[in-house]
């Protein structure tokens, strides 16, 4: 089961569903408050970036410094965007 969830096609499906979810947040603004929808869009984008890195770029099995560098990039970019977009 875990192997199936880690397969490239399963990863792609997760990425497609996540993209559709963030598109719904844009197309149906009444459903969520603008602040929540905006944060959700950023969080989904960062989760997708992380997933592409771990699975497609194979960082999951990479050496620790490389994984730390990539994870740090995802966390810092995500946190800065969330904070600055929330202030505006």
């Amino acid at each position: 089961m875990t192997a199936k969830l880690h397969s490239p096609v399963a990863t792609w499906l997760i990425l497609v569903v996540a993209t559709l979810l963030s598109y719904v947040a844009w197309i149906d603004p009444e459903r969520l408050s603008p602040a929540v929808a905006g944060s959700a869009v950023i969080l989904i984008a960062m989760a997708k970036a992380w997933l592409i890195g771990m699975r497609f770029m194979e960082l999951e099995s990479a050496v620790l410094p490389l994984r730390i560098a990539y994870n740090l990039w995802v966390v810092v970019v995500g946190a800065v965007l969330l904070a600055m977009f929330a202030v505006a």
Partner: protein, 212 residues
């Protein structure tokens, strides 16, 4: 290890030349930690991602200055085209993974890379169409700060897509059922670069097209 080697050779003779893994050998699906591709490609990728991180921060900074302008300008972007381009890049990344896996298993994989290149070219075509649409509506880099940042960042990304397509061309050429370890490493490096192009677009799509 010596025991296994001797036993493995004996087993191979009994087994028509195919050595078998012995029960006492630990069998695991998790490869040992390694550097995918080459260290050099990661310096390039992380450097590029750092530059784009600064540019994403610049977008957020100017958005704080005039959120109304950003909100109004964003409404004139074609979200459906952006969504189509996102699916094109995500699917081309999947094709690159499947092509790389096929190359590692000496099953070829050129077909997957060709498909990835077609999807990448589709992205370029749609992006140029979008630029032409915006130009036709009089929405240019000098219209306001949103469009300045939109054209600069998506333009820089488009440059990366074109470089990525060149990498996919070399990747496709290097893939062979008898691929050498050196060429396999080259193929891995090209794949990593293409996935980075995908990562950057995922964030550009969120901050320019979807974030209200």
């Amino acid at each position: 290890m010596l025991d296994y080697d001797i036993y493995g050779i004996a087993q191979a003779i009994d087994n028509g030349g195919r050595p078998e893994v012995q029960p006492h050998q630990p069998v695991t699906d998790t490869p040992a930690p390694h550097i995918p591709g080459e260290p050099g490609v990661w310096i390039l990728v992380m450097g590029d991602m750092f530059v784009f991180a600064l540019l994403f921060g610049t977008v957020a900074y100017y958005r704080m200055d005039g959120p109304e302008v950003f909100h109004a300008s964003q409404a004139s972007l074609n979200q459906a085209l952006g969504l189509t381009n996102t699916f094109a890049l995500l699917t081309s990344s999947l094709c690159v993974v499947l092509g790389l896996n096929a190359a590692r298993e000496r099953r070829g994989g050129r077909g997957w890379i060709t498909l990835a290149m077609v999807l990448g070219a589709m992205f370029v075509g749609f992006k140029l169409l979008e630029y032409a649409q915006k130009g036709g509506e009089g929405l240019l880099p000098d219209t306001n700060m949103f469009f300045m940042l939109y054209f600069v960042l998506t333009g820089m990304h488009l440059g990366h897509v074109l470089l990525g397509l060149l990498a996919l061309f070399f990747m496709r050429r290097a893939i062979d059922p008898d691929i050498s370890p050196e060429n396999l490493r080259l193929v891995e490096c090209c794949a990593i670069f293409w996935h980075m192009v995908d990562v950057l677009w995922v964030i550009l799509f969120a901050i320019f097209y979807l974030h209200r």
